[in-house]
Symmetry: C2
Subunit: 126 residues, 2 copies
DNA sequence: ATAACCTTTGAACAACTGTTCATGGGTTAT
DNA sequence: ATAACCCATGAACAGTTGTTCAAAGGTTAT
């Protein structure tokens, strides 16, 4: 990374014309989609569900028992996680098995974890 | 990564004893902190502000003009971004210059962007 | 067939969030 | 000193979110 370039939201790996470096602020549309995605990760029970699925495939009832929620509440949350393609599922008889869709959620967890675990430096202000 | 190990929320880079592999679901406390952090990223105007700061240091008034918000609203949001240590600031006379604190936010943006841009595969259900 | 099981869905309601508005603190001018 | 400027803060209000509750769909038993 060059030294004087400001931090930017570029996506440098892609050379296509539709992936031009961002020299403007995010469009309302892109910002909205970002917010919707991260908003889904803004609930503690959804993280508990995701972390349970990180251990392996689980049925809805099992998830409810592990995280201590009603099956209805878990089902509602799983629907939200599905719309953001964070989980996938397969039906087997009357059971539905959910699992994490890919590694993105794990990378996000790790990145956030590192940020939260950083030692707090001395603040000038406040 | 071994083939049969389930995806897990381990943090493999650290070998310390206080960073044991996660074989249980996230604690309520950890899940809460994760949710609080990602919840901050769950607002489109905060992403617009962050993307403006990704281009370089900006004053509060400049941010308000660029993102099309009132200065008060921007100030409220900057406070939230400060509490999550996503931005830092320096005072210069009566102006306050904000900037991104580190690269974590950029990594999170990129990871999410890749996830959102993934082609949708054929769903079995629904 | 009926019953039990697992899951999903919709409505309703309490709790939370982000904005506006008014106000005030602190700094730089005149 | 007063005025203008830049920013932060608190209250209040509309909009959103996550839960509970009741009901129903679909599958596997008996």
């Amino acid at each position: 990374m060059t030294s004087d370039a400001p931090l930017s939201l570029d996506e440098p790996n892609l050379s296509g014309a539709d992936r031009a470096p961002v020299r403007e602020i995010l469009s309302l549309d892109k910002a909205q989609r970002m917010a919707e995605f991260f908003g889904v990760l803004g609930d503690p029970n959804r993280w508990r569900i995701l972390s349970a699925l990180a251990l392996g495939e689980r049925r809805v009832g099992e998830l409810a028992a592990v995280v201590g929620m009603s099956e209805s509440a878990v089902s509602h949350q799983l629907r939200i996680l599905r719309t953001m393609r964070l989980v996938s599922y397969r039906k087997r008889g009357r059971n539905v098995f959910y699992c994490l869709k890919d590694r993105h959620i794990l990378n996000l967890y790790q990145e956030a974890s590192e940020h939260l675990d950083e030692p707090l430096e001395e603040e000038e202000g406040e």
